[in-house]
Amino acid sequence: MIRSVDLEIHNDLSEIAVVRDALDRLGSELEVPSRALIQLQVALDEIVSNVVKYSWPDGSKHKFLVRITVQATGVALDIFDDGRPFDPRSAPEPNLALDGQRPRPGGVGIHMIKKLVDDLSYERIDGRNHTSLTKKCAIGAVSTED
């Protein structure tokens, strides 16, 4: 069982709703376990919002591709964008809070992605970033963890 959906969206935070809703539809149709689906939604939001916010510093309008692939063994999220090179694996760890102080926002998203998925890979090909997130889960199986 393999299903793949390609979605082209603009670098606008509101368009993340398009990929979110597509992942929801696929997830419920193909019975992705609810905990895995929630974690995939969070990872998708983190990685796509990162591309929207940082890939094109000039602020001009760009399109990029998000591919959601559901296989029997898990779900892959692939993002292809022609923005500036950025390897999320190299992002610094979030600033740890000093004693008695609140941590500052920033870097938390990438840090969470690493915990939410099983594999985070990146390559720069022909002037495009290809970022890939994979989460293993048994698709269509009755989940006992929820």
Partner: protein, 116 residues
């Protein structure tokens, strides 16, 4: 497009303002949450409980909104606490390293009782 992924309501229980969130908090709507919380704080609310009981999930954009609101509350001498974190939601706070950053109560009743 699902434009109402997050609903934000608020009511008063005694002198405590309870903000009820329902749905998902992500980068498409976290700014709405931040504006709403900041508006309540600047309107003079001194005790605010944010109820996560009906939240499906939240992302780092939501954490940012909550951190900003926490700072804003502190500046205004207001109490700002969270309650009713379900299993998946609690796990996300934990992954973000933020479970210890906020004051979190197990239930709305307990949070309101503490702030009243």
């Amino acid at each position: 497009m699902n434009t109402n992924a997050l609903t934000i309501g608020h009511s008063h229980e005694g002198g405590v303002c309870v903000v009820t969130l329902s749905g998902r908090i992500d980068s498409t709507n976290a700014n709405d949450l931040m504006s709403r919380l900041n508006a309540l704080i600047s309107s003079g609310e001194k005790s605010i409980v944010v109820d996560f009981g009906a939240v499906l999930y939240l992302t780092s954009a939501a954490f940012r909104a909550l951190l900003v609101a926490t700072d804003e509350a502190e500046r205004n001498a207001a109490k700002f606490v969270l309650c009713s974190l379900g299993g998946h939601v609690r796990e996300l706070f934990e992954m973000g390293g933020l479970l210890e950053v906020f004051t979190i109560h197990p239930s709305r009743a307990e949070a309101v009782a503490r702030l009243a």
